[in-house]
């Protein structure tokens, strides 16, 4: 079952920071949950097709025409930080 190292690895993939204490707690809780959900491996499903949507999903296409324009001001209205009409983030390199 899942160990603390894996929990830390998963947390990093999910862009989450977990403290030592949280890592321990999540390890035991995720362990219990995974043990329960592992039940699904009891059934042989070689011949079964997977379902991703309960209803048939088709591509929806439309003409490439702007009809629902959002202004730059509106787009940026919830931004934690912006400058000159762009989203601003901390340095990358």
């Amino acid at each position: 079952m899942i160990d603390k190292k894996e929990v830390e690895y998963i947390a990093n993939l999910a862009r989450l920071e977990v403290s030592e204490k949280e890592a321990k707690k999540f390890t035991s809780q995720l362990g219990v949950i995974l043990e329960h959900v592992a039940k699904i491996s009891e059934i042989g499903t070689k011949e079964i097709k997977p379902t991703s949507h309960a209803v048939e999903i088709n591509n929806v296409l439309r003409e490439d025409k702007v009809d629902n324009e959002v202004s730059k001001e509106e787009s940026l209205s919830n931004a934690p930080d912006s400058e000159e009409g762009a989203f601003k983030v901390p340095r990358i390199i």
Binding site: L16, H36, T45, N78
Partner: protein, 473 residues
Amino acid sequence: MLYELTAYELNKKLQKKEFSSKELTDAVNSRIESVEKNVDAYVTFIEGKPDNNDNVAGIFRNIPVAVKDNICTKGIKTTCSSKILENYVPIYDATVVKKLKEARVAFTGKTNLDEFAMGSSTENSAFKITKNPWDTKRVPGGSSGGSAAAVAAGECIAALGSDTGGSIRQPASFCGVVGMKPTYGLVSRYGLVAFASSLDQIGPITKDVTDCAHLLKAIAGHDAFDSTSLNTEIPDYPKALTSNVKGLKIGVIKELVAEGIESGIEHVFSEAAKKLESKGAQIVEVSMPHIEYALPAYYLIAPSEASSNLARFDGVRYGFRAQAEDLLEMYKKTRSVGFGEEVKRRIMLGTYALSTGYFEAYYGQAQKIRTLIIEDFKKAFEKADVLVSPTTPSTAFEIGEKTDDPLQMYLSDIATIPANLAGIPAISVPCGLSEGLPVGFQIMGKHLDEMTVLKTAYALEQTIEFKEKPKLN
């Protein structure tokens, strides 16, 4: 008291001018003022003016309606009861909100939920714990606990919720009100903050089945802004409201009335089924052999989709941002501070299930189980027109009772999850009390057969005559 009436009754009285729209709004507002401190149903209140246009279709004009706070309202905060969206103000309305505006409802406010709709008790809200109006030491259920509690407490007349694994039906059951999850794709999800996109569906929470049919009619319909929206003709749902169930075949799902169900619930449920039988319906027993695998499959599929959907909360375009030196650190700090514990748990569970080496055994296998559940339903619907079960294995539990044990919390969704996996319509109708707490009767129908579900629900409501109200002051 005006706040005790249904939308249908209020609409009749408004038309006869027995009171004004303002008197109705005032009645609900003063009810909110007197009980909200004990219930904590709302995150944000909305003030509006009565509409004076007499030429609006439908029964909801000037009726006080609440909206779950994961449904976008233009210019009004939409928090998902999460710290990460605490100050988020949408720049657009969800399609359902647009439709309710067209119906000229009087919005009361945005209701509390488990953060991002992840939970079964509304205890996972970052802001407050909503209480069950029947017993304020108990949870209202979740995740639409704020909406269900507000309807039950008379803090609004009707409400919208969202249901991914039971989040409308389970709180409706716990709070003694009606809650319906429509067929997947019937109601547009545009503007509903995504949790698990293949399962999420918006639906009504109301005082009775009549209001449910009318509210469903108001929000259903094709929407070009939702690529999963069904392009189908919308029936006139209120026409389903006849109590004629003669010859209707009602299938009791044997696996959902077996072990693990409280005896009080089992008793109230089977008495209710007998009443439908006395009205001429035929009760048959049906088996869904794979149903025990629905819950584990759901708790892999839903977190997997959630881990992907919630990747957008990164502190760049909207929402909370934690200060950091570089971008990666900013992402991590933002998400760690912004998300609550249950949301983190599900993101990690989903990330794990989708990660290299585990994908086939977890997510892949769960999708195949989903196929088996759908096939089980198809076979069961060959024997019955609707399928029924208790909505929940227990009545409302106490606040704090399950917060330390996530798995126990998940198990309260055992009867509601299958309908989401199959995308079929399902309703919960109050059918009695067990030790003073409401019991919900779940009715599931074939794909897009809301009419038969509503008809059965209405017949049940008429024979049961559930008149009890929470004693809340």
